[in-house]
C-alpha cells in the first residue's frame, strides 16, 4: 500500500463575548427560557433595520490583527441566502470575497511535539451572525428557539492548500487559537456550550501526488479530544477506502462521540447556491489607521510569545511554559508569584501539580480559590529553607487550600516545623541505636539494609518532623562508628 499524506483545513466559529447581539440590542446569554431574547430584528420581521455592534466589530479587528492578517480597507456585509427554519430572514448576514472580510491572509504559529514551531496560514477572519437553535420535539415536529439568532459570530478559516497535516496538528491549532481568543477576551471558548465550534475538512493523497484528494467535512466535534479523534478516524477511514479501490465521496460527516466514529450526514439535494450580495441595510465599514492603531495597542502579549519569554527568562521547559501560559489568569498567577521573589521552577511545579489538581477537582479558576500568589511563595520559601519537608508541604498546601490560612501560619499552628537541628537528630539516633542492640548486630554482620529501620525509628520518635536527609546521614555515620 502506498503511503498517504493528509491535508486538513479548519473552519472555526467563535461566538463573540458581547453583551448584546450583532444587529440588535437583545441581550446575549447561554440557555434560559426559549424566545425570551428576541426582537423584530433577530426574528427577521418585515420593516426592521439592523445596526452593527461596534464592540463585536472591534473584537474581530483585534483578532484579525492578533492573527497577523491584512485588514480590509473597505469591508461590507453580504446576505447569504438559503432557507432553513433556524434562519428567520431567509438569509444570514455574513462577509463574502477574498479581500472583503475584516481580516485576510494571516497566520498563527503552533508549537509542535518536537519543540519546533509550525506556521499555519489563515485565509480569512470575518464577522457574521449566528442562527437560532432547532430541537426535536418528542410529540412530533421541531421547535425553534431564536435566542441565539443574531449573536455575533466570528469565522476563522485556514488557507488552501492546507498547512495542517495530522490530527495532532489540528488539535494543536485549535488549542492555540482558543487560547489566543481567550487572551483577547473575545470568546469564552466553551466548546461544550457551542460558543467555539470547529469543522475540519480532511483529505488524503498518495505521497508524491500533486493533486489533493476529495475532502470530507466533520461536524459535531465539541471537545479538543473529539477534534483529534475525529480527524484521525477520518484520515484512517479515507486511506482504508482508497486501499480497497473505493472513491471518497465529498460529503459532510457527523462525529458520534460515544462510538468514536464518523457517519455520513444527510446531504442537501441541491448544490449550495447562496447568491451572496451586499446587504443594502448595512453600510460599509472602513478601518482607518487610527482605528487599527487603537486595536493594535490594545493587544495583550499572546500565549506563544509569553511561553517563549518564560522559557528565556526562567529556563523552564517548553512544556512547563505551555501549561503556564495556556490560560491568561494562570500565567498572571505565575508572574505575580515570581515577582514576589519565589524561584520559578518550584512555583511552576506546585502550580501544575497539586494546585492545578485541586482547582480541577473543584472546577474553579485560581481567583475563585483561597490560594493567592503570596500563599505559594510562602510555601515555596518554607521548603527552600528546609523548615518543612516536601511531604509536609503537601499537607500544608491542602490545609491552606481549604482554609485560606498562610502556609507558615499552618506550620506554626500545627507544629509542623521540620527538625533540622543536627544535635537533636543525633541524640534521637543514639537513642534508637541503644534501644535496638539486635539490629545493630545485624548491621555489623553485613546486613546494611537495616539502616532503613533506624531511620524509621528516628522519624517515628520525632513525630515525622525530622529532616529525612539529615536523619539518613546521621544514622549512617552513627552505625559506622559502633
Amino acid at each position: 500500500m502506498p503511503s498517504y499524506l493528509a491535508s486538513i483545513g479548519m473552519e472555526v466559529h467563535a461566538e463573540l463575548d458581547t453583551r448584546s447581539k450583532m444587529f440588535c440590542r437583545c441581550p446575549v446569554a447561554f440557555g434560559g427560557e426559549p424566545n425570551t431574547r428576541v426582537c423584530p430584528v433577530c426574528l427577521g420581521l418585515p420593516g426592521s433595520l439592523p445596526v452593527p455592534n461596534r464592540a463585536a466589530t472591534e473584537m474581530v479587528l483585534r483578532t484579525a490583527l492578533a492573527l497577523n492578517c491584512t485588514i480590509a480597507t473597505n469591508s461590507v456585509f453580504h446576505r447569504k441566502n438559503y432557507f432553513y427554519p433556524d434562519l428567520p430572514k431567509g438569509y444570514q448576514v455574513s462577509q463574502y470575497g477574498e479581500t472583503n472580510p475584516i481580516g485576510y491572509a494571516g497566520w498563527i504559529d503552533i508549537p509542535k511535539a518536537d519543540g519546533s514551531i509550525k506556521r499555519v496560514r489563515i485565509r480569512r477572519v470575518h464577522l457574521e451572525e449566528d442562527t437560532g437553535k432547532l430541537m426535536h420535539l418528542p410529540a412530533g415536529g421541531s421547535g425553534v428557539d431564536f435566542n441565539r439568532s443574531g449573536v455575533p459570530l466570528m469565522e476563522i478559516v485556514t488557507d488552501f492548500p492546507p498547512d495542517i497535516e495530522s490530527a495532532e496538528e489540528a488539535k494543536e491549532y485549535l488549542v492555540q487559537l482558543r487560547s489566543t481568543l481567550l487572551y483577547l477576551g473575545v470568546c469564552d471558548g466553551k466548546m461544550e456550550e457551542g460558543s467555539l465550534r470547529c469543522e475540519p475538512n480532511i483529505s488524503v493523497r498518495p505521497e508524491g501526488s500533486a493533486e489533493y484528494g476529495t475532502k470530507t467535512e466533520l461536524k459535531n466535534l465539541n471537545s479538543f479530544r473529539s477534534v483529534q479523534l475525529g480527524v484521525r478516524y477520518e484520515i484512517e477511514r479515507q486511506i482504508a477506502a482508497l486501499g480497497r479501490g473505493e472513491r471518497i465521496r465529498q460529503e459532510t460527516r457527523g462525529w458520534h462521540e460515544g462510538r468514536e466514529e464518523s457517519f455520513p450526514m444527510r446531504t442537501k439535494e441541491e448544490e449550495n447556491d447562496y447568491r451572496y450580495f451586499p446587504d443594502p441595510d448595512l453600510v460599509p465599514m472602513a478601518f482607518d489607521e487610527a482605528m487599527r492603531e487603537r486595536a493594535r495597542t490594545s493587544l495583550p502579549e499572546l500565549p506563544l510569545a509569553k511561553a517563549r519569554r518564560y522559557a528565556e527568562q526562567s529556563g523552564l521547559s517548553a512544556q512547563d511554559c505551555a501549561l503556564l501560559t495556556a490560560d491568561q489568569a494562570w500565567a498572571e498567577f505565575f508572574e505575580q508569584a515570581v515577582a514576589l521573589g519565589a524561584p520559578p521552577k518550584p512555583v511552576c511545579n506546585w502550580m501544575n501539580s497539586d494546585f492545578a489538581k485541586r482547582l480541577n477537582e473543584d472546577g474553579i479558576g485560581w481567583k475563585a480559590s483561597k490560594i493567592t500568589p503570596a500563599h505559594l511563595v510562602d510555601l515555596v520559601k518554607l521548603i527552600e529553607s528546609d523548615a518543612i519537608s516536601g511531604k509536609t508541604a503537601k499537607e500544608v498546601f491542602a490545609e491552606s487550600f481549604e482554609s485560606g490560612e498562610m502556609p507558615s501560619a499552618v506550620v506554626l499552628a500545627k507544629g509542623l516545623v521540620q527538625i533540622s537541628d543536627r544535635d537533636q537528630i543525633e541524640a534521637a539516633v543514639r537513642e534508637a541505636i541503644e534501644a535496638n542492640p539486635a539490629s545493630v548486630a545485624k548491621y555489623k554482620s553485613g546486613q546494611t539494609g537495616v539502616a532503613g529501620f533506624f531511620v524509621g525509628q528516628v522519624m517515628r520518635a520525632t513525630g515525622g518532623q525530622a529532616n529525612p536527609g539529615l536523619v539518613q546521614e546521621a544514622v549512617k555515620a552513627a552505625l559506622e562508628k559502633v
Binding site: 426559549p34 424566545n35 444527510r266
Partner: protein, 96 residues
C-alpha cells in the same frame, strides 16, 4: 445573454416557488426583458470608476454594545401558526 428555462427552474426552486411549465415560459420572457436593461448598462464606459456596493455615502454606522429589553415572548410568538413550550413549531427537520 438570455436566461434558459433550466435557469428559471433553478432560481424558482431556490426561492421555493412552485411553477408550472406555462409560468416558467412566461417568466423566462419577463426575466430576459429585465436582463436586456442590464445589457444597456453594460454598454456604458465605466472605466476608472470604483465599484460601489451602496448608493448612500455613509460608512461606519455602529450601535453601542449595551442590551435593551427584548419583546415579550407572547408577542414574539403571536403570529406563529403553531407553538409549544415557548418554541415556534415547524415540520420535523431531519439533520442526520
Amino acid at each position: 445573454m438570455p436566461i434558459s428555462l433550466d435557469e428559471v427552474r433553478h432560481v424558482a426552486r431556490l426561492a421555493r416557488l412552485e411553477l408550472d411549465e406555462a409560468e416558467v415560459l412566461a417568466l423566462q420572457g419577463e426575466l430576459n426583458a429585465l436582463l436586456g436593461h442590464f445589457a444597456d448598462i453594460q454598454g456604458i464606459d465605466a472605466r476608472g470608476i470604483e465599484p460601489q456596493s451602496h448608493a448612500v455615502s455613509l460608512q461606519n454606522v455602529w450601535a453601542e454594545d449595551s442590551p435593551l429589553p427584548s419583546m415579550p415572548r407572547s408577542e414574539a410568538l403571536r403570529n406563529s401558526a403553531l407553538t409549544r413550550a415557548g418554541l415556534f413549531v415547524v415540520p420535523t427537520i431531519i439533520e442526520d
